[in-house]
Structure formats: C-alpha cells, structure tokens
C-alpha cells in the first residue's frame, strides 16, 4: 500500500488539431499539406505539419496566398466544427479514463492530475496515453508534466520544441531545470500578458528562470497577488487547482461575420433570426432556458465607421421556445438597426440560463401550462425532424429568403463522424 502519493499535473494537447481531424478521417489528406480557414473562409487558422514545412503562416488572409497554395497543391478546407467538436468529445473522454481529474481547457487542451508512481517515472504512463490516443483517433498529442499548471504548460512547450522528447516532457523530474526554463521567453509563460511581459522585459527579465528568481517584493509591488502566485508556481508550488467541474455555461452565443456588409434592416433581422433559431436549438439540446435575450450588431473593426449597439429583453419566465425568442429578436433588431452604418457582424446571446428541471413552476397557471406543453412538444418534434432528416428540414420562413450575407464556407469537408448521410465511403 502506498502511504502517500505525490500528485503531478499534466497539460495534454492535440497537435495541429483541426488539420489532424481532417487527415484522420479523409485518406486523401494523409501526408499532404492541409490548411484550415477561419469562419467565413477569411484566414488560415490551422496547418498540418506538411503545410508548416512549406512555411505557410498562421493568420494569413486566404486571398493573399490563394495562388501560392494552389501552386503548392495544398488542400484548403473551411473549418468544420461539427467534426472537430465530435473528435474533441472523443479525445477528452479517452483522456478522462487515463487520469484522476480532468479540466477541459479548450477544444484540444486539457489539464489533468495523476499520481506519481513510486519510481517517480511518468514517462511510461505518458507514452501509453500517447499511443492510446493515436491508436483510437489517429491524432498525435503532446504531454507536458510538472508540479502545477504553470509548469505543466511550460513542459508542454518544451516537449514540442525538443525533438528528442518525442512529445513528452516532465519538468519535475529533469536534472537541468535551469537550462530548460531559460529557453522559455517570459511572454510565452501561461498567465503573462502583453503588459506584464513588457514590464518584465524593461526590468531585464527575459525568461522563465529569471522570472522565477526575481525579488518577490518587486513582483508583488507591480503584479500583486497574481504575480506572486505565478512566481510560486514557477518555483513548483501548487496554487491553481484543477477545476474538474467548471461552472456550467452562463450564456449561449451565436454570432457570425457577414460575407458582405449588411445595410438593410430586413437583412439584419433575417441574420439575427437565423442565429436565434440556432441558439434556441442549442439551449434545448442542453436542457437550458434563457430569461434574458440580447442581440448585438457592429461595423467592421477596420472601417472608419465605428458603431456598435446591443439591446436586450428581460423575461419573467425563462424560455427555450423558438417562436417566443424570434418575436423578441425581431423587435430587438429594430432597436439596434441604424441605416447609416454598414454592419459586418451580429449575434444573439441567451443569458441568465437556467436548467429546465429547475424551472419555477409556481408562476405558471393552468392555461400557460397547457401552452407550455404544446410548445415543448412542438419544439421536440422540430428538433427530432431536423436531426433525423436534415439540419434545416424544418425552419422558420424568415430564414428562407436569399441570404446574401451568409458566411462563406466554400471548402467545407463532410461531417464524417456525426451525420450518417455524410460518412466516408470505401471504394473497393
């Protein structure tokens, strides 16, 4: 029996996650340069290792490199969030089975806690997790291990940058800690923002080792308790816990940039209605209801116009009924519309979310109880039909008009793992 075990923290993330998802499910993309474009096909947001090797940069606007990508025979894809979301769900569940606690940090990143074995060597465990994930999903992960979150993050960076590490690095068990910390620039440390890093650099603090060793009072004077905590974590103390039950989402947002700016009220209303339908659907799938509905619209950040407006409606009873929500959103769109501006982005937010099971029944009288039953079964039916047949098999007339503003998704791959009509085909 082990008397006490030392807990270690690991940061696991998937390498080139979006591109890997596409490559694992589509044989044509294997070993080929692949880039993924942002919403609206604007910029490059992910690259396969083969595309990195061609020195294609992150964040480059697509139109600028279109010809070059063509010449290099790079596969260009719109972002396919139903695929990435499904692969992420699989990834996180597989990781969850290999650790004690998990905090899902982003779509492709998780902090986990594990106990250190008696020989302190976590490399065999890490190698087995890595090969498990590769075998199950065809996705390569990087594992950084340390005593706490900040050091696990640093270890993960080191695992990526040191070729011989084979995707795994344990900062807590290395003999040359100082050498490794020196390789991490201050602005690359988790929790160090732009302002902090420029202050540190003005003080001559350039890397993680120097930040760890800076006079404690100096850091507290400038950065307060946050800075002290950061330094303590760099030294190996554990200050930030794993948050295994992150608070449930406080709001649901659906917002998009338009492919061409909107100037007409009719178009703005239509766009907001489309997003409202989607947001209501999302709420129902999570058994949530909103009692505060907000819409917003803004002009482009890059245009000389600078206008943004939002409006909201507080409700007595929370709702997830698309009909109710649409009525409100149509009214709100009139409130934020202004004919003098060209809108480039708009969205709806469902706020003050509550779980349907805790819905306050006391305020509902008999008549509305009946209406509620009717609305619930209508929404259920619509959701069922859309799931069964096609995303928009049934929708509201307001969305059916030509949508000139809708997002470009010219290179969308199929929903290979989430839609039975789009699963891959085996040729022979």
């Amino acid at each position: 029996m082990r008397i006490s075990s030392i807990e270690a923290i690991a940061l696991i993330d998937a390498n080139n996650f979006y591109a890997s998802c596409e490559q694992t499910i589509n044989p044509h993309l294997r070993n080929k340069p692949v880039v993924i474009l942002s919403n609206n096909d604007g910029c490059i947001i992910a690259r396969s290792p083969e595309a990195r090797a061609l020195k294609i940069k992150m964040g480059t606007p697509y139109f600028k490199v279109k010809e070059r990508l063509n010449k290099l025979d790079v596969a260009v894809l719109s972002s396919n969030y139903s695929l990435y979301g499904d692969m992420s769900r699989r990834l996180m569940n597989l990781i969850k089975n290999q650790c004690e606690q998990i905090e899902i940090y982003s779509i492709d990143e998780a902090f986990i806690s594990i106990s250190r074995p008696n020989d302190k060597n976590l490399y065999p465990w890490a190698r087995s997790v890595r090969s498990l994930i590769y075998q199950n999903l065809g996705i390569t992960i990087t594992i950084g291990i340390g005593e706490n979150k900040v050091r696990a993050k640093i270890a993960n960076k080191l695992a990526k940058n040191i070729d011989s590490s084979a995707g795994i690095f344990d900062l807590a068990e290395t003999k040359n800690e100082n050498n490794y910390l020196k390789k991490i620039a201050v602005d690359k440390i988790w929790g160090v923002g732009k302002q902090t890093s420029s202050w540190l650099q003005s003080k001559g603090i350039k890397n993680a080792r120097e930040l760890r060793d800076i006079e404690e009072n100096e850091i507290i004077k400038k950065l307060g308790i946050v800075g002290k905590r950061l330094q303590l974590e760099l030294k190996g103390h554990k200050c930030l816990p794993i948050e295994k039950n992150k608070k449930s989402k406080k709001e649901i947002q659906v917002s998009r940039s338009f492919s061409t700016p909107i100037t007409k009220l009719e178009d703005l209303t239509q766009a907001l209605a489309t997003y409202a339908i989607k947001a209501s659907e999302k709420m129902r799938s999570q058994n949530l209801q909103s009692s505060n509905i907000r819409v917003f619209a803004r002009t482009s950040k890059y245009s000389s116009q600078n206008y943004q407006r939002s409006a909201h409606r507080q409700l007595i009873n929370a709702t997830d009924d698309t009909n109710n929500i649409l009525k409100i959103v149509v009214e709100l769109s009139k409130e934020i519309y202004n004919p003098e501006y060209k809108f480039s982005k708009a969205g709806v937010l469902m706020q003050d979310l509550t779980n349907s099971e805790y819905l306050q029944q006391s305020v509902i009288n008999y008549k509305s109880q009946k209406d509620l039953k009717k609305s619930t079964s209508l929404m259920k039916t619509i959701d069922f039909l859309n799931k069964r047949f096609n995303k928009n098999a049934i929708t509201w007339a307001i969305t059916k008009k030509q949508q000139s503003w809708s997002m470009n998704k010219n290179f969308l791959s199929r929903s290979s793992t989430t839609d039975i009509r789009q699963i891959p085909t085996i040729l022979k």
Partner: protein, 138 residues
C-alpha cells in the same frame, strides 16, 4: 408518436392536482423502462468507433455488400483473419487481413479482385477493425 430520445430529457411537469389512486398498479410497470439500445450492444468503445459506407462488391464472399453500413473500431489491434479498413494511396479500402508463407497481405473476398501486398505500396495504414456490417433488405 414519441419524439423523445436519450439526449433530450423529458420535461418534468409536476402533479398539481390531487393524485388519484385507484385499482391495482399494472404488473408490467416495473418492466417498461428498458428497451434494446443497439449502440449499447454493437459498440463497446464508443470514443473510437466510426461509421463508413461500403461501395462495391469486393467483400461479397464475406457477406459485405454494396451500400452496407460498416462499424469500425479504431482502438482494436488488427489480427490475421480480421476484416479491416486500410488507407492505401489516398483511399479507404476494406479487406481481410491474411497471412500466407509468413507474410501479411490483404485479401479481397471476391475472386475478381487481386490480393494486396504491402511491399508494392508506399503509403499504407491499417485504419481500424470492422466489427459489424449492417445490410438493409429494403
């Protein structure tokens, strides 16, 4: 018709009226909850299971026909005798992993298709093991 499924929890409506107890409870009440869920029976590793669609008749002798739905578990290690999905030169292929003279090869279950030898190809990856095929008779 009931449109509820496992992902949408039933909306709970509290009993506002006095409850009425009359007669005997149905003897079947305790048994009505369960129904057969194919997911549960066909899929043991849900996070590594994928669906694919077969096109063509290369596996006809193994009972896998054109348009069949294939359930593939990527977590399983392929063994000789298994039907597997491979990625070969940019295509998905379905074959039986076989062994002859100490050499692994991929066998089509149809005499009109040649066997596949690994050494003739540059880019081969065994992608997953086929655990079920589903054929529609309609």
């Amino acid at each position: 018709m009931d449109f509820s499924d496992s992902t949408t929890k039933k909306f709970k409506v509290p009993l506002l009226t006095d409850s009425v107890s009359a007669g005997f409870p149905s003897p079947a009440d305790d048994y009505t909850e369960e129904s057969i869920d194919l997911n549960e029976h066909l899929i043991s590793n849900p996070f590594s299971t994928f669906f694919l669609r077969v096109k063509g008749d290369s596996m006809i002798n193994a009972g896998i026909k054109d348009k069949d739905l294939i359930i593939v578990d990527k977590s399983l290690t392929a063994r000789p005798g298994n039907i597997i999905i491979a990625m070969i030169d940019g295509e998905f292929t379905i074959k039986r992993l076989s062994i002859k003279n100490n050499e692994l090869y991929l066998k089509a279950e149809n005499h009109n298709y040649p066997d596949f030898r690994f050494k003739n190809h540059i880019d081969v990856q065994i992608w997953g093991v086929v655990i079920y095929s589903i054929h529609s008779y309609l």
